[in-house]
Amino acid sequence: MHGNADVPSVRPLAIEARGLVKRFDGFTAVDGVDLTVPEGAIYGILGPNGAGKTTTLRMLLGIIDPDEGVRRILGTDRPHEVAHTIGYLPEERGLYPSMKAYEAIAFLGALRGLPLAEGRKRGKELLEEHGLGYAIDRQIRQLSKGMAQQVQLLGTLVHEPKLVVFDEPFSGLDALNQGKLERMMRGLAARGTTVIFSTHVIAHAERLCDEVAIIAGGKVPFAGPVDVARDRIRPQVRLETRAQDGPWRGALPQDVRREGSHWYFSLPESGIEPLLRALIEGEAGILSLSIERAGLHDAFVAIAGEAAARALEEDKDEARR
């Protein structure tokens, strides 16, 4: 694992996976995934569609068993043994349409070992707390998709789990409810609950996560703190000059590109001072200059792209052999 090697975690681990491999009919969906998620963290699994995020989460939760590799969840390699301390919201939401909202929550709790009567009581309380009191006695089939999704979310948390796993939790939610969910996730983490979620919307991860794992092509090219991911690519410089050309052009780095009246390039390893000197001496006429630290999105594109290129090279080498 890359990131955690750079910044070792002192907290005990909620999840530890080594070399997870999963194949479906000859296709390798997940190819040697390593993950370590500290307890109490908000951890994001980022990746494009089909990258292997859901398969990885399913293996961690024991829904499917990996073909190779080892996983440990809350201290055990048998996830069902600790199922009562885990909550899971799958990407494809599903509830029994004939169940009433509070019964659905109670049933999801009962599956995790919460007594049914207690689950019913908490189900009603949770629905009231989240402004869904009017839906308590409604059947799931009578609720809108978004409301049913919220009911399932409450069912995921009704037994007060130590670890919550969300697979693409923001999909299907409007902006208001996305914000609500972000607040809920922060609240869980504040109470010591480990939150792990997958997403292909980087903004959520950037706002929420302590650490992320980037999955591409079934592999994890990066896992670690968000800051470390962002530091993987150099800060970006945006420069605006009065002059279009001059001897100062030779001082700009090779990756420079021009968009409108601006020049864009990565901050040179030698720093900004030598460049500034060349611009001033060459009379470029600096109108504006800004140095921006890379966002997680840029880091993701750079890392996932690098990994794809590496995978392509590996395929070529294999073909040559």
């Binding site: 399913r58 073909d67 599903g94 919460l114």
Partner: protein
């Protein structure tokens, strides 16, 4: 939120109970359960049709016979007369067998001959053609009285205008009548068992497909072992069927008893009514668990109702064959065919229930139940394993290799 009770780890059986409770309640209050309760109406129709076929089988395989025990000359005359009349009247004439040609002065007790159950005798004709006596069950001899008078008149060389009086000597029940009644009980028992099992297996299958359609299967798979989902579904449907049987028993029994019927009016199955009903429930449960586990395993491989129908069709046909095999076997007692039908786990429940109607030996049921339990355990295990592998396309690894004796250990908090 209240924190009065915390969630605790569920064992596989507890998880199966959670699943079974959900399915049981959901099905009990669903429209499909209403149709399930109406099932006997359809079943009675099938039963009536099957009864027609069964009657034909019975007539062919075990036609009640009329015995004759007279002096040598009279016996020959009766046999000859029967031959002449049978040629004219056809199958309406009872099948005739010579029980004994009596020497002059020899005494013969027709009652003990019938009770000895040596042959398939429904009644015995004694005396002489001029003064015949017919001994047998009241209903049977009343039915045969006219035909016997015809035979006696023909044997005595009298014209169609003069028939001897046939003295009737009634007894309670003959072996042949008892055998026929028990055969009917056996056939009814088999058909009810088969219909119930197929209805339930179909219900458990559609329930599973619905679950896959609802996408809830992933939630279940994440929370509890797939074995528990499998067992829960299987036993929920068994419980549903027992509710159904109780409802039918209470309503049907009330209507039946209210109509002035009583079980004592009918020849009891060989093992007696209480034991027969008990064994019926037991064989039903075992047969259902066998077929239900196969259907559930099939359901795990299918994603749509159409796929389920395609995949389950061969199994349904195979089960139908087993039913016919068991139906055929009950007419072949003591043969290798019956033994084979008992040994094959899929036909065993049908065959054994029929055997309970026909044979009073109880040890065979003990042995058959033990044998079927072995198969239930085996098939449930295999079904659950296939279910787990197929339903979520799971692999086989994921944990550090440990021997089974190393797997026990305290659960993490």
């Amino acid at each position: 939120m209240s924190t009065a009770a915390r969630a605790g780890r569920l064992s596989t059986l507890q998880a199966a109970f959670v699943m079974a409770r959900r399915d049981f309640v959901a099905v009990l209050f669903s429209r499909s359960f209403f149709f399930f309760l109406l099932g006997p109406l359809f079943m009675l129709t099938v039963l009536a049709l099957a009864g027609g076929v069964g009657k034909q089988v019975r007539q062919n395989t075990e036609r009640p016979q009329l015995g004759v025990a007279m002096s040598v000359a009279d016996t020959d005359a009766v046999v000859k007369a029967h031959g002449v009349l049978a040629a004219q009247i056809g199958p309406a004439m009872p099948q005739l067998v010579v029980v004994r040609r009596l020497a002059p002065g020899e005494q013969f007790d027709p009652l003990s001959e019938i009770k000895s159950n040596k042959a398939n005798l429904a009644a015995i004709l004694t005396g002489t053609p001029e003064k015949p006596t017919l001994t047998g069950p009241q209903e049977r001899i009343g039915d045969w009285q006219g035909r016997v008078a015809l035979i006696a008149a023909q044997a005595a060389g009298k014209g169609p205008d003069s028939f001897p009086d046939v003295a009737l000597s009634g007894i309670a029940t003959s072996k042949a009548d008892q055998s026929q009644s028990r055969m009917a009980t056996a056939q009814i028992g088999q058909t009810v068992l088969f219909m119930l099992m197929m209805i339930l297996a179909g219900m458990v299958l559609s329930n599973l497909v619905e679950e896959k359609g609802n996408k809830i299967i992933e939630v279940l798979a994440a929370a509890i072992p797939m074995d528990a989902v499998f067992l829960g579904k299987l036993f929920a449907m068994l419980a549903i069927s027992l509710v159904g049987i109780t409802v039918w028993g209470l309503f049907g029994g009330a209507i039946w008893l209210g109509s002035g019927n009583s079980l004592t009016d009918y020849p009891a199955p060989a093992v007696g009514w209480p034991m027969f009903f008990g064994l019926g429930v037991l064989y039903f449960a075992l047969g259902y668990l066998v077929i239900g586990s196969i259907f559930l395993a099939i359901g795990s491989m299918a994603t749509t109702v159409r796929e389920v129908q395609t995949l389950s069709m061969p199994v349904t046909m195979l089960q139908l064959l087993n039913f016919f095999f068991a139906s055929f076997a009950i007419a072949q007692p003591g043969t290798w065919i019956e033994t084979a039908a008992i040994i094959v786990p899929f036909s065993s429940p049908f065959t054994m229930l029929a055997k309970a109607a026909q044979d009073d030996a109880l040890w065979v049921h003990g042995a058959a139940i033990a044998w079927q339990l072995v198969w239930v355990a085996l098939l449930v295990r295999m079904g659950a394993s296939l279910f787990k592998t197929r339903v979520m396309q799971s692999g086989s690894g994921g944990r550090e290799k440990r021997r089974w004796w190393q797997r026990k250990g305290p659960a993490p908090a």
